[in-house]
């Protein structure tokens, strides 16, 4: 067994080796370790290996019935449970929030069935299961990000037949995505995508960076960490290995723009972070969506 700290090299191959070496115990006090049975985990891991080998390729897998409803993170949960090792430190977020109900219940399920340590601090986490955000702290090669994906295929909006969409992926025929982008620029002079922005992976497949906001997309480009995407309802996984080019689809004479907020966070006062509206001291205000980092900053201010 090896600790995930060995994930240091730059290539997909090291990510692969690290994935392969993630040995798990089989039982925890009479129950299956990490909830899933061995053959389910093998199936998911095999799909993940293929996904890492072919970055951005939507890889089908036999999605299991999970104790959360499909569309509530069952894909992310399966990826996490199939890859987690006893030494991992786990963080689970939903909309950047560690304390939302969905995040809490899934964290408890994973922690109870494995006994791993949990944290809200992204800097010490080695496995982060996330929905809607990438933690705003600097992440390194020791982190594996697991995304809960609602709709895996960026072509879905334009082509509903899966067979036709697969053919289009195979031929690199992404004209419909460009057409959607043209329509947006012609009508609104900007792109309409608020999240799930389509990105080209290493000059090959185009994926949906789902469901993170545009703000987080540049962080995927040449990221040191491994990103695994799991869609349980759609029974598909895909991956971005470390140090991979992630290029947002955009016209050569139009810039890719991320969300900008005029105001600082109403809670910690930081500028330039991704803000969402919430009630602060009885009033609607914009505050950091990454709650753990926001809370840490508030605490630091008090200390200073």
């Amino acid at each position: 067994m090896s600790a995930p700290t060995e994930l240091t090299g730059p290539t997909a191959l090291t990510a692969l080796t690290a994935l392969l070496r993630r040995d798990q115990p089989t039982h925890l006090s009479g129950y299956l370790w990490a909830y899933l049975d061995g053959s389910s985990k093998r199936e998911i891991r095999r799909a993940l290996l293929k996904a890492v080998c072919v970055p951005g390729h939507i890889t089908p897998f036999a999605s299991r019935e999970m104790p959360v409803a499909r569309g509530w993170g069952s894909g992310g949960l399966q990826v996490t449970l199939a890859t987690i090792v006893a030494e991992d430190v786990l963080k689970v977020i939903d909309q950047g929030d560690d304390d939302s109900l969905n995040a809490r219940t899934m964290r408890e399920l994973i922690a109870d069935s494995t006994g791993v340590d949990t944290t809200t601090d992204a800097r010490v986490a080695t496995l982060v299961q996330t929905r809607h955000r990438i933690p705003e702290d600097e992440l390194d090669a020791n982190t594996v990000l697991v995304f809960q994906v609602p709709i895996s295929d960026p072509l879905r909006e334009f082509e509903q037949r899966p067979t036709a969409a697969r053919q289009m992926h195979a031929e690199g025929d992404y004209a419909v995505i460009w057409l959607g982008l043209y329509e947006d620029h012609a009508r609104f002079e900007t792109s309409r995508f608020s999240h799930s922005y389509p990105c080209e992976i290493e000059g090959g497949y185009t994926i949906s960076t789902t469901p993170i906001p545009r703000y987080d997309v540049p962080r995927l480009h040449q990221a040191p960490f491994l990103s695994l995407f799991g869609a349980g309802r759609e029974a598909a996984v895909y991956a971005i290995p470390p140090h991979t080019d992630v290029t947002p689809i955009t016209f050569t004479d139009r810039d890719f723009e991320v969300e900008r907020f005029g105001a600082p966070c109403a809670k910690c006062g930081v500028t330039g972070s991704y803000l969402t509206e919430e009630i602060v001291r009885g009033r609607p205000a914009l505050a950091c969506s990454d709650t753990a980092r926001c809370r840490r900053r508030q605490h630091e201010e008090v200390v200073i």
Binding site: E171, D173, A175, Y182, E183, R187
Partner: protein
């Protein structure tokens, strides 16, 4: 001048046991318009389908600008179709995306062939949009809000934007009222003269054929029964079937 833009030889298509077309041959040179006329089920659209790379021939071959199209498959076939061929169909919704704007429908073929500059494709779309005499200011409106005649104009603009070598027209004005029909035909003829694009027009309407086509094929039961210069065929029909066609035109 080099060889024919479109070369069809011994083209045969079988749908199971049924014969779509049988040993059809013709050439279309740059600047030339070929008409194909015949009753429903005579194989006109089958021939056009092979020229437009929608169908694979069971026998014979189709050459586009000297290139045999039989071995071209997948992404290359799509590219050839987007760059080399323009298609205008009778039913606009088969070729256009109704929920997308006219401009979007026009630029789609450019995007499919790798154009990535927004302003460049927008300018190009605007140019053809004006050329086909569509109303100014409606370019960003969804095609679903357009009338039948306007949709045909959008199709023509979409077909011509990539400056194809061949333009294929499948009953381009069928189902439109006569005044709109006349204006569209006038537009097609004008554009054809100006650009010199090679054209194949399929129609059951002899008036359309007489107005547009230089050469004419008369088809029946999948076979070519008569061919020649349009004026000759229509004014001096030799095959009994052609004679029947010409004589069964309704006079006003």
């Amino acid at each position: 001048m080099s060889g024919p833009v479109l070369e069809v030889r011994e083209l045969t298509v079988r749908y199971g046991g049924t014969l779509g077309c049988d040993a059809v041959s013709f050439d279309v040179h740059e600047g030339e318009v070929l008409g194909i006329v015949g009753e429903s089920g005579s194989g006109k659209s089958t021939v056009l389908g092979c020229c437009g790379l929608d169908l694979h021939p069971s026998g014979g071959w189709v050459r586009l600008s000297g290139m045999d199209t039989a071995g071209v498959v997948g992404a290359q076939r799509r590219r050839l179709r987007n760059e080399g061929i323009g298609i205008v169909r009778q039913a606009a919704h088969e070729e256009l995306r109704l929920e997308i704007s006219a401009g979007g429908n026009i630029v789609e073929r450019l995007l499919a062939t790798g154009y990535r500059g927004f302003q460049a494709i927008r300018d190009r779309a605007e140019r053809v949009y004006t050329e086909v005499e569509l109303p100014a200011g409606r370019m960003d409106a969804a095609v679903a809000t357009f009338s039948g005649g306007m949709r045909q104009r959008v199709q023509i603009a979409r077909a011509l934007v990539s400056e194809p070598a061949v333009l294929l027209l499948d009953e381009p004005t069928t189902g439109l009222d006569v005044s709109v029909q006349a204006r569209i035909l006038d537009l097609i003829r004008g554009l054809q003269r100006r650009t010199g694009v090679a054209m194949v027009v399929v129609s059951h309407d002899l008036a359309v054929i007489r107005m547009l086509a230089d050469q004419l094929l008369v088809m029946r039961d999948g076979r070519v029964v008569e061919s020649g210069v349009t004026d000759r065929v229509l004014s001096d029909p030799r095959h009994p079937y052609t004679q029947l066609l010409v004589s069964s035109r309704l006079e006003v």
